[in-house]
Symmetry: D3
Subunit: 212 residues, 6 copies
């Protein structure tokens, strides 16, 4: 009997509230205020296996839209089990001719794996402005370094699917056209900081629902 | 002309060797000595788009083996473009009945996405020894927190494939049976630190090529 | 008088709530919900010198048990003053023949110093499965890299004591036998992912109070 | 219409509460309890451009005091917009003969830029006790590595101003004379740990308002 | 004499090569290959006070160019003393009407302080595409969170100067127009991933020296 | 045979040079140039169990000196096996009346455990200048937050020994008196930045071998 007692006393020591939350996992309590490192943890007692599985991107996103493509993220906001664990994922679906417009992820590098079809993908170096472009076939992998402008295009005849992983539970997504044209960023200022012509800015603001 | 000169002078400033390497990417020079943060960078001038794409895991691994499964990593040792970027990936192929034996990744959490078939997967909490097990279907995602024992099994009738991402370019892989039985770890010591019987230890050392 | 005024205004500036908490220390408020970086801080005004001293492991742990050993942690759950400071410690007491069974710390490397007697200790590399084993005498130090399986044994005739430090306030502790046999992990699954025999699994579940 | 719908659905996905707070910024809610990584975030809906601008150090500090100098910090406690962003700043104003007494910043390196006049500045290496001293003219920059004792003096005939940046939102400030003489640190102990004479300690405690 | 011997023996212990380099500072040896954490350190014996002071941005940059502005960085490539210290700085000079075109820093947040004149500055949130714009007067401070598109404009009648600090020795600088138009990024692709018109792309490639 | 082949192919995959070095450990090659993250790794093939054990502080340091105390570090410079593992240790020996003079560790917090006798220890908060002092008995633990001035005194009648751990392989050690008086820091400057009297400065420079 002694040893059983001992074993459980040892278990108790190492399963203090702090140990059980902080060390192994910290499923996000999305109802609490977030901090720089993420969300407070859901009480360990209420955590079940379901907290570690996400089914929300099992189906292809709807690509019947202007870009013939869909981005379906599983970031901490969608998948609280990722909180504090330094990784997340998103699903990309692109119809033939589909495009993920040029964008950045401010907080993480992106690792893409193509699971159906093939993509043409690229990024631009910040230091030399050199463009790195490659065709990525099914089962192949491409890395996009943190914070750099990059894009993916389905140049094939069939639908393409890819999964993109990020070294952060919340990598962010800044799509250039949305940042410039899908808000109230005054056209005059947009033109001043981008050198774009007024007509071009107004045209894209029209398409993307921007004002000003 | 002035502005062109200016623009290129600005480019020059921001494309000093340090900027071009450190900031955007640091493709590993695997021939140089590694350090705690990774490998020294390949000279930026010699970097091409090919350095950012990896084709080595496009084909299924050979599952004709004792575990009817294969693990094909794309870590920095295989894919130097990942150096310093905080992420990596591996491909899992499992024939029906295939098993990825219980193991840990000492340096990163693991994010699994099933791309064909379905898996039964689980991990054990270190603090409470609670076991979290779930069936993960095609397109579904499961997270395995850093450093915890976990496993994947193909309980289905068809082959299964999954990609597992890690929040480190070099997450490591410690397979329990290899650590205990596939080396010269003296049987007597193995038995002392695991409570396993001598016959069990000797049997598995036999299967896995261990000695002592 | 002016300078006194100045000095205290300067003090005020640099002792804003945020400065006093975040910078110097952040004694854990264990009653609040933890986050990925640790616990919220106890109000600085209520912090005393007692918050920075821990007496809970001054006495030897009880080694009258199955492993003839005791592990007494001073992690953030036991010693809130460590919160956010990146370090913790535990005391190991081993009677002659005592064993700290093979285990891992998912979140930190371990630095052991023997203060009485001597130990036989070792760890297994994840990449090569190479076993590193050494006798550690009184006053000697051994390092166990993060996340790797390791153990300590008292092979001497007298009691041994050691202190183990960790580069995290909450390194975690996953004891292999507890993870496999001291819970409701189904025996059939345990056997599938470990290659252990059914009899061996059932026997150890019996010893450690496991079910299924 | 479809594409507009799509675009906004995409926006919604990427603007979940967690994304909008964690990724882009986390303006401190100074009324909430801080944690090791900083303060909880103010609700994104209440954040305005004003949260990202700080006007509190636009005017020179009052240098009519014992050191003929003033330190005006813009740390997270003063400027909540810095929370979680890894940087902060302070303004230094020094009348002729003004001195920023020797001090350390426990949590960050300091980068100084002189904007008016010139300073004599230096730091001491911890490993070799070597002293690095330089005159820093207007527009010149000096780096003070993390945690090392350093100082700034206005040896010129005119007032000097500088801005010092820190690689932390809350670098801290430990001024040697305040740590030793502006509190209730018992004189006997101060003398024991500094080798200073009793008369010297009592004299400076008198000047700085210390007791004991 | 004994104590002197002791003191220097203590100094020796704590001034081993590793201590003197790693701890206090690591002045970059720009001639060696960089790694993910920065450059190897210059031998401590060869380090002087000059290594910690940078005079290269003391003078205003030349603003006689297309943007009537100049960016003068003091990153690790220009100022090796910053290596490994987590901070850097750049000087901005803007003539009346001058513009720092919209850009990102992939690796760090930016803290701006205006030292002459005033600027109109702003950034765009990645999650909500909300634009945060403010006039920043002399002595005022503005923070631009990591990786987000931002800009600065001199809307005043006089020249303006600002210093921008970064929480990284090598924050990078990706200027949108250079990334899209100052390289060989094929116009057709640029148009596909930005929705810009062919004429607009060709026009700006002409201005910025781009091809393809 | 197949499974053996498989198992070793799997081993090969996960034991590429990068995996074996970077992941598990990176024993310092002290003959190579250090970088911000530490030293390059010794080739894994040449690493033995001896690399992970340090015997250099098993014996008490010589306390026959001015402070009746000795500090014996096991930092990465003395114990290369710690490289990159985020932890280190030092031994403190204090004769009756012995003193570890007030000092800081710029890069890490310190965790002290007393193994013989008892100590009087304390640190000063940087934000409030509050002094936290406690008697620490045998087996008790005290934490000293990163970068703060602290000290240890043996106020007992017998010798005392303690081990201090640090959350860095190279925490540094800046002893106040050495920084001010054991170098060529000009006395006039020392007096200006410390408010100490000329006689006091000259006296201590005499004791500690300082010049200027």
């Amino acid at each position: 009997m002694l040893h059983i007692l001992f074993l459980f006393s040892l278990l108790l020591l190492s399963s203090s509230p702090s140990t059980s939350n902080a060390l192994d996992f910290c499923v996000a309590d999305l109802s609490a205020a977030e901090g720089p490192a993420g969300f407070p943890c859901k009480a360990a007692a209420n955590v079940t296996a379901d907290d570690f599985v996400f089914t929300g991107i099992a189906k292809a996103g709807n690509t019947t839209n202007i870009i013939s493509a869909a981005v379906s993220p599983a970031f901490v906001g969608q998948f609280p089990g990722l909180n504090g664990l330094g990784i997340s994922i998103a699903r990309l679906d692109l119809a033939p001719g589909g495009v993920i417009p040029i964008h950045t992820h401010p907080a993480a590098s992106e690792l893409l794996v193509v699971t159906h079809g093939h993509l043409l993908a690229g990024f631009i170096s910040s230091s030399s402005n050199k463009v790195y472009i490659k065709k990525v076939n099914k089962g192949e992998i491409m890395i996009f370094p943190q914070g750099l402008l990059h894009f993916q295009i389905n140049a094939g005849k069939n639908a393409a699917t890819a999964f993109v992983s990020f070294g952060s539970p919340n990598p962010g997504l800044q799509i250039l056209d949305f940042a410039l044209f899908a808000n109230d960023f005054p056209s005059k200022l947009v033109e001043t900081v981008t050198f774009l012509d007024d007509a071009q800015v107004k045209k894209l603001k029209g398409v993307l629902g921007g004002t000003g």
